[in-house]
Symmetry: C2
Subunit: 204 residues, 2 copies
DNA sequence: CAGTATTGGATAGCGTCACTATCTTGTCAA
DNA sequence: TTGACAAGATAGTGACGCTATCCAATACTG
């Protein structure tokens, strides 16, 4: 299809499609001449992915490109590849303190291995520090309650991951992380409302 | 304390503190003269909250102000007040479609009440649509697994909410939502890594 | 085959945002 | 009384994510 049809099918403005092409988020079409190129369903899908990463997952254009690059060119080492992609996902790590006391305590309380090289450790530290600074610190009780529920989530995710195709596993892991976090957040908010509603016996 | 001490204690640059004052995020100090004002621990705490909302929860300055306003001046109707604050939290709802088929199906599958007026319904719809568009659609299996785990989270949260002091409840609900979502996201990522690590038998 | 439309490619501009810097005027403290 | 600091106002900055315009080279259309 021509670029105008791609624009029509996705709803993404022409100028923006060209911008994504320039930035390397969208692969160029098959050139059929000096001023013409063919686009196909892969381009439609890619635009969907780009918008999902930018609009829903909240990534910047640059980080979205990094994530797409990782998915397109996975390394042989699965765990490292996924780790690399996850570092592009928000929240982003600023200065690396090399010391994450809150995160360390939490992780060890849950019986997990504490490895300060994981980007998520720094993320957890900052999230915990922020909650503390704002006056709603993490308690041991809550840590235990959250830990159990989150283990459930994680075990389902990992259990459903393809172990045969590494490229698929990377895509699943990265998109699963980036795109299901908003799903989980929304579901939690709804569950809160439901719980409050039931706690109040259905009255406003 | 003087403004310079506030700057030193929080690490927030002077120009930025003035900016927050201008924008109404930070309450003015007690004026002791035409060019002098006193700041106290409440100001230090507020700056911590502002940075937590902006840097960790990812709010814009304007939305952070809206959240702070709600916490400071809660209405009598608890549920409505919390709802108002939650709409300021990302991800933000764009055009209201009034029809949320994916979210409706999911919510009813979990046995909750579907009310399209909740902002979180639109958020869930967009998150589900994005996952679908990106090629990792929500399955019934996953919905059930997530639903159970998330109910656990929500029940703990609501169970620990103060039912006596409305102002406290609002603060707890809003900050709990805004600041614990990053905590949960980080914990899930770590749980993923832990699960993969154990699935691979400890080898890299 | 003339004429209009469309494309790819390049470049420049725009609006928002979150600061940041400067300047003025007043004031406190030594 | 002098020099550092403060408040308040205003303008500027750099990044970001588009968006608009131009141009030359085709491609369809009648």
């Amino acid at each position: 299809m021509r670029i105008s049809e791609l624009v029509d099918r996705t709803g993404v403005p022409l100028a923006t499609v060209k911008y994504y092409l320039r930035e390397g988020l969208l692969m160029p079409g098959q050139a059929t001449g000096a001023t013409q190129a063919d686009y196909d369903d892969a381009h439609v899908e890619r635009l969907g992915l780009i918008r999902a990463l930018i609009d829903v997952a909240g990534l910047s254009v640059k980080r979205a490109k990094a994530v797409i690059d990782v998915i397109e060119h996975p390394e042989s080492d699965l765990v490292r590849t996924i780790g690399r992609a996850l570092e592009e996902l928000p929240p982003y790590g600023g200065s690396d303190a090399a010391e994450y006391p809150r995160a360390k305590r939490a992780i060890e309380a849950l019986g997990q291995v504490y490895d300060p090289d994981y980007a998520a450790v720094a993320q957890l530290e900052r999230a915990l520090a922020a909650a503390e600074a704002a006056g709603v610190p993490m308690t041991d009780d809550r840590l235990r309650a959250y830990g159990g529920a989150i283990m459930e989530l994680a075990e389902f995710d990992i259990g459903n991951m393809s172990t045969t195709d590494p490229a698929d596993a990377v895509k699943y892991a990265v998109l699963g992380t980036a795109l299901y976090e908003p799903v989980i957040a929304a579901m939690r908010r709804l569950a809160h409302q439901d719980a409050v509603y039931r706690a109040l016996g259905g009255s406003s």
